[in-house]
Subunit: 460 residues, 2 copies
């Protein structure tokens, strides 16, 4: 009798926990559904993005538009009535493209204009531009094998392509971006006078893609530009036939002293554990081409909108939730570094950070910087987010801006929408509002708000 | 001793079957990877689509372009060297839009032009057009409650919107399409002289969306057009203020006698069970606006391409695989009906049919018309397709063209790419080649080829 009653008791406990857990999941599902209904019926993410793209436009760190974006997002979050909204001062690099670039291929008697743009941070050429023979290389490894005599006085043409077999476009980017970031240094080391980079995209089109590049103070600085993929193909074809073809480019960019700018932060205080902070972040700055729509206007407005959803739906989080619009992700990461520095200084406890900087496309998964029990715990929430597009929670994740929080033990989470179209627009004149599908953007908002809600309810 | 040896033997058998099953999955994964590598390095789906969109263009049943599309796809599959390629004669309806439509809203003294298009199958107005007061209704149910005296002599404006809360855009379409298909019949029954339909899309833009509509021979036929969503909003706003505002439209469409056209079919014979047939189908016809890119150029080229992948990768299927490019899905379904009719007549055994007619977007899932053991079997293949985008296999699926095979017991399978953008382009001038992302199209090809391969290897 005793044995049976113990068994019965155990079964009862198990049964009750199952019921309670199912009830909790139902409750959670109802709360997340509230976010969905608010977003799809009266959501502000799309009108926010409209304003950011059309009324402000692109917003490179230190520019007037970046300043305007800071003021507007600050005021907008103030108006939404979050518990606190504040600016966090950051010194940012300031670089300007100046007058539009020009470039030509000289193939014997023929002179063909091609589309280029200066890489971000590059020096200018002289007023007269530079003109030289072109040495094509398939990435930095191939460059390093060249005889310096062959390189000297010439222009290096980095033509390593995106890997067609990379499943995620981000991986293809990762496999080629070194040409952009270190290409000028390595080419100059061998005596080159400039570099031209095949634009970093799968797409075959006429948009040159800019992006950050670096110099090394002990090596001569040489001008660097990107050429559209269509014109990279043209240049490569010509060089196969005529290795003496020449490339000319002229650009007018300039670096200025650091400027003062800001991270913009909004917060709703936790009702039970206010000291446990969870942030959602995107970056407010963009490159100076297009409108910075997918990179990272969409992430910025998603972050503002998720806090608004909590407020409007009357959901008071148990832990503190905070939106951080980082400044200067594109060419310095000063905002991300400053945020982590001040957080450490103030002894803040960030239990988790979510970053959305992969475009406003349809959600597919969240990547998490931990495995084991914490990953298991987060994974049990996947069914709650699946209706809105999240098919899995995977190990491995984070983002540039939240990266510096890692040493404080914060769990880093990357939001991953479908990746295939991101690099069609990335850092180009094509990254404009019309490339964003309203509903895809909204589904992203709902999944991020949902995960934020679950983190704030249950902690880690 | 005897007991132990039996246990050992059982364990051995179980162990071996697990190993064999894992090996089979590995083998399958290698074969599907071959499709992927061929498609992403040397694939023809995108150039096929380029030709279909730019060299042929839209291709309404019975049109010269539809005939050209038949000849080109037939010749292309011939050139690829499939085992058999043939045409299957189908009589199709023939309807032409004629000279472009015009429409105006008359609001007191103001006359505002708006964008419309005739619905497919509609009659023309007179040369002078029709002009009348407008009665706005939120769908057919609301219309039926109206006093016929109020409707008589007026134009019915169907303004029921896509449900913003529908997760899949297809469900939103399903909830409103009745206005288009039966709207003219129901309005005429109450004495209306014409209908104007809010375009069937979530998107707020200036593209009117055409699509099939029906008449009933015992009820007066009245002209029917679609108005862009932007102008539907404008019309609705004006009517709230001025219920006496008038709508004018003029259109010139015409129905002709049925024309002769064809389903285009390509086949690779099965090596072990040639009598078990598996088809993949899309429809070759389109509406007469745009280029019929996503609807259903993408599906058509995917179907041609999957057979080419088998051939090029040297994979001989165990069962017979067949591509069917159906004619006349848009306004009659004659191709789908004819195919099933001849299949029954010839005692063909179709074990499964896959349809791709939901756009060339990133794959998300396959929907299957069966549950129980067969669904379980197909579901075990999901991990093999997941790298290419298939996150699940669900119960419930099929497609218009393969639907008529259902009564022969064929398992029907719908390919479901992400649905959010499909109705941004559907049946409009915006459905053009540039709206298709090459890699998204290619991922679709690989998942369909993969499923076709597994079906041909293992049957059902």
């Amino acid at each position: 009798v005793k044995k049976i009653s113990i068994r019965f008791f155990v079964a009862l406990i198990i049964g009750m926990s199952v019921i309670m857990s199912v009830n909790a999941q139902n409750q959670d599902s109802v709360q997340i559904r509230k976010f969905f209904e608010e977003e799809f019926n009266r959501g502000k993410s799309y009108p926010y993005l409209d304003y950011l793209c059309h009324d402000i436009g692109h917003r490179l760190s230190g520019s007037k538009q970046a300043e305007k974006a800071v003021q507007w997002t600050y005021q907008t979050m103030k108006n939404e009535g979050f518990d606190s909204v504040w600016l966090q001062e950051v010194k940012v690099p300031r670089w300007e493209r100046g007058k539009k670039e020009t470039a030509f291929i000289f193939d014997g008697d023929r002179k063909m204009p091609v589309k280029i743009c200066a890489l971000g941070g590059s020096i200018a050429t002289s007023q007269n531009g530079i003109k030289a023979k072109v040495i094509e290389v398939n990435g930095i490894e191939e460059l390093k094998k060249l005889d310096p005599e062959k390189v000297k006085g010439n222009i290096i043409f980095y033509n390593k392509q995106f890997d067609k077999q990379a499943m995620s476009a981000g991986h293809a980017y990762g496999g080629t971006v070194e040409q952009r970031s270190r290409g000028a240094i390595e080419a100059s080391r061998l005596g080159a006078i400039g570099i031209v980079l095949r634009s970093l995209t799968h797409s075959l089109d006429t948009f040159p893609h800019t992006g950050a590049m670096n110099y090394n103070d002990s090596i001569t600085k040489i001008p660097a530009c990107a050429i559209s993929t269509v014109h990279a193909e043209m240049l490569s074809t010509i060089l196969k036939r005529n290795p003496d073809a020449k490339f000319y480019f002229q650009q007018n960019c300039k670096k200025f002293d650091d400027a003062i700018s800001y991270n913009v932060i909004g917060e709703i205080k936790g009702s039970e554990k206010p000291d446990e902070i969870i942030i959602v972040g995107g970056h407010l700055d963009s490159w100076d081409l297009g409108q910075g729509a997918h990179d990272d206007g969409t992430g910025s407005v998603q972050c503002m909108e998720v806090l608004r959803l909590f407020k409007t739906c009357g959901i008071r989080p148990k832990r503190t939730i905070r939106t951080v619009l980082f400044m200067n992700e594109e060419n310095g990461l000063r905002g991300g570094l400053k945020y982590a520095e001040l957080s450490a200084l103030n002894n803040e406890k960030h239990i988790a950070a979510i970053e959305t900087d992969a475009g406003g496309f349809m959600p597919r998964f969240f990547g998490v910087s931990v495995d084991g029990k914490i990953l298991d715990k987060i994974s049990t929430w996947q069914p709650l987010l699946e209706p809105y597009g999240i098919q899995k929670i995977t190990n491995g994740g984070g983002g540039a801006d939240i990266g510096p929080l890692k040493k404080q033990g914060t769990v880093l989470i990357g939001f991953h929408p479908d990746s295939q179209r991101y690099f069609d627009y990335h850092h180009t004149d094509a990254d404009t509002f019309d490339k964003v599908n309203k509903r895809e953007l909204q589904f992203g908002v709902v999944t991020i708000a949902g995960l934020l809600y679950l983190l704030s309810e249950y902690g880690l």
